[in-house]
Symmetry: C2
Subunit: 406 residues, 2 copies
């Protein structure tokens, strides 16, 4: 069994429970995952550092004095019922790629650092891409350390409790040392599997807007209020759900999801008084997101006008699409060709640490297939064959990128 | 303040909480309501009995030997966030009507019994119209006593714990003693208020069918699964909700309600895997219920065919419409005229204990208006003026009915 398979199997034991893997940032199980990373890195003599929010770096030196680093990584934390590959694969593969360079005595101009970003999922502390946001200056470090989990423990307290004695030293955050960033990740969608290829080169990470919609109607007895006099909040919500779905289909290259919906009072014999639901719209193209949002708002206006309800739409988050660096994408294409593989261009519907890194350095991502397109579930899986091709492609990509980034 | 207003205000304190009144069958608060009823009945010398499932009877004697009883009543239990009038009004008004007969020394041929049926709402033990179902032989008494609430307490245990020492004696159930049944109730709908009348004579109690619909789709990441490849259980449910609404509007004189809906896993960034929802269809005309059910099943078939989902519809309950007795309706009409009031014919969209009684004896119902048509909510209200007219009309109805029933 190759190292990447073996190590992923080892990490998959950390935080495992009945319904998947729960390895939130700075928990004991996540600490054990860091310790595995540290052990593997030290065995190869890579210098191990951690910054004050818990980003962990294993550095393989380059030959050119003063050259900036190529960072390669992902994250070790999971959602509460996560799988074995989302994040962990990119971290383990980064280390394996460094080792592959060692094994063929391939010197690079730039230092190459395998990195485990702290807390990408945001499942314990309320900030997604926490470590990469702080590292890149998008979020203040002191504020991040002051974030509390559901039990009132701050990230600072949790890190102090879980990481004592682990590291060679705490490094100062220095985003200026980054020459380029590469991230290898499972696709989490069905495209590569459907196309029958082992590799995807990400064109852009989709922009995302999230909304909370509240529909206020009037409750009443399910048997006694005539249909024409109702203010049924659920019927109004149903129209909006279908309007958002239709708009995303019409706009193309976009997705709209109502994942969460709550009915009040939620009794079989009472007309729904209030329905709240989430809307999540994503596309690599902001104009398409605009189109879906417009359709959603038109549907709300229509419900306000035609039904006895009031609809309020609150925009919680708006993140523009993040295009990947064209030169890096081309380098990844050359690397894939060099190892005799084929890759297709794919968008990333999910968010990644690469979004933050793209703000400060040329950034690109490689995808390997997800079986059944499934992710964020216990059944998340990628074939061993594809996992190994991903590592090979990543090592080759480092070599290609090393040739021209400055 | 008249007795009916005063007593309703007193009962409204029993089980009151922030969001309404919670007075489920055989709870301490419901026991206190029975104690109030018993106290009021005993003060007038009415014989008080209770049968083994908790139906409570206060009997005013008639003058003819061996005559069967005219039963007049409703229920004292409420939904978890109920109001002060649904049920309680009919029980208190029945006692007040008996007292009105006393006050004018009006003898009746038949005994008249004010009755509080046990547990009409079905909000603690899973059986609506529990007491009247058992009394009329539609449901087995031993099975009813063995029904468990959510905490595993049986009705038998709950009655034993809450009613000790309350009553003069436990009566044998004897449905053959019923000559006729009258029930006065708040309309729980908007028709009387809209028409500006204080009284309604019920034509029929709507038939009702209840369904549980389960939509099984496929969950997935909200950002990565293309719209065309989704099996979104919530979008399929939304179509069915709107199909049911449309069908009831088209059928006319019918209502369809999706009051309860649950999404799994109900996370903003996960495509809904499973949605379950209730459907409640009612009409005084069974053919219209058929039409709405057919539309619901067609919509399910359509979702099965067009979407990547599987829809299962389970029919939980089907109750045919219950026409009220024509001779009793005519007698109620004469009674209303005799007191100088006006009544209109109205259907009852809600179910009542009268449905069960209609199986064994001539049965009729009177309605008073519900302000805003609201019921099963804390804001449920009927004007004091209408509450008093209802009592007067009920007393007059007893006199009219007493003249001809056998």
């Amino acid at each position: 069994m190759s190292a990447v398979i073996e190590r992923l199997a080892e990490l998959a034991q950390l935080g495992r429970h009945d319904a998947g893997i729960d390895r939130a940032l700075a928990t004991p199980q996540e600490r054990r995952a860091r310790e595995r990373f540290a052990t593997w890195a030290r065995a190869r003599g890579y210098a191990l550092t951690q910054d004050d929010v818990g980003n962990l770096f294993a550095r393989r030196n380059g030959v050119r004095d003063g050259a900036r680093s190529i960072l390669v990584g992902s994250h070790l934390d999971t959602v509460p019922t996560g799988g074995a590959y989302d994040g962990a694969y990119g971290v383990v593969a980064a280390l394996c790629a460094l080792e592959a360079l060692d094994e063929r005595n391939a010197a690079t101009e730039h230092p190459v650092e395998a990195v485990a970003w702290a807390g990408e999922e945001g499942s314990r502390f309320p900030l997604g891409c926490l470590g990469s946001s702080v590292f890149t200056g998008a979020y203040d470090g002191a504020s991040a350390l002051a974030l509390s989990d559901a039990l009132g423990t701050t990230l600072g307290q949790a890190l102090a409790a879980s990481d004592g004695g682990l590291l060679d030293g705490v490094s100062k955050r220095d985003e200026t040392r980054v020459a380029a960033y590469l991230e290898l990740h499972v696709e989490q969608g069905p495209i590569l599997e459907r196309e029958g290829v082992s590799l995807g080169i990400v064109t852009a990470i989709a922009g995302q807007r999230r909304y909370r919609v509240a529909v206020e109607g009037t409750s009443g007895h399910a048997g006694t209020v005539p249909m024409a006099r109702r203010g049924d909040a659920l019927c109004a919500a149903a129209e909006m759900i279908l309007a958002a779905e239709r708009a995303a289909l019409v706009a193309g290259e976009s997705v709209a999801t109502v994942g969460s919906l709550t009915v009040e009072p939620n009794a079989t014999n009472v007309i729904p008084r209030r329905v709240t639901f989430s809307v999540d719209i994503r596309s690599p193209d902001d104009a398409r997101i605009d189109a879906v949002e417009t359709a959603l708002r038109e549907s709300a206006g229509d419900a306000n006008a035609r039904r006895r309800v009031t609809v309020a739409i609150e925009r919680l988050e708006a993140r523009a699409p993040t295009p990947m660096d064209p030169k890096l994408r081309a380098a990844l294409g050359r690397a894939v060709a060099a190892i005799g593989e084929r890759a297709i261009d794919v968008p990333s519907g999910a968010g990644h640490d690469a979004i933050c890194l793209a703000r400060i350095a040329p950034t690109a991502m490689l995808f390997v297939p997800s079986i059944g397109g499934r992710s964020h579930v216990a059944e998340e899986e990628t074939s061993p064959h594809d996992l190994e091709i991903g590592v090979t492609a990543l090592a080759a990509s480092i070599v290609e990128v090393d040739k021209f980034v400055i």
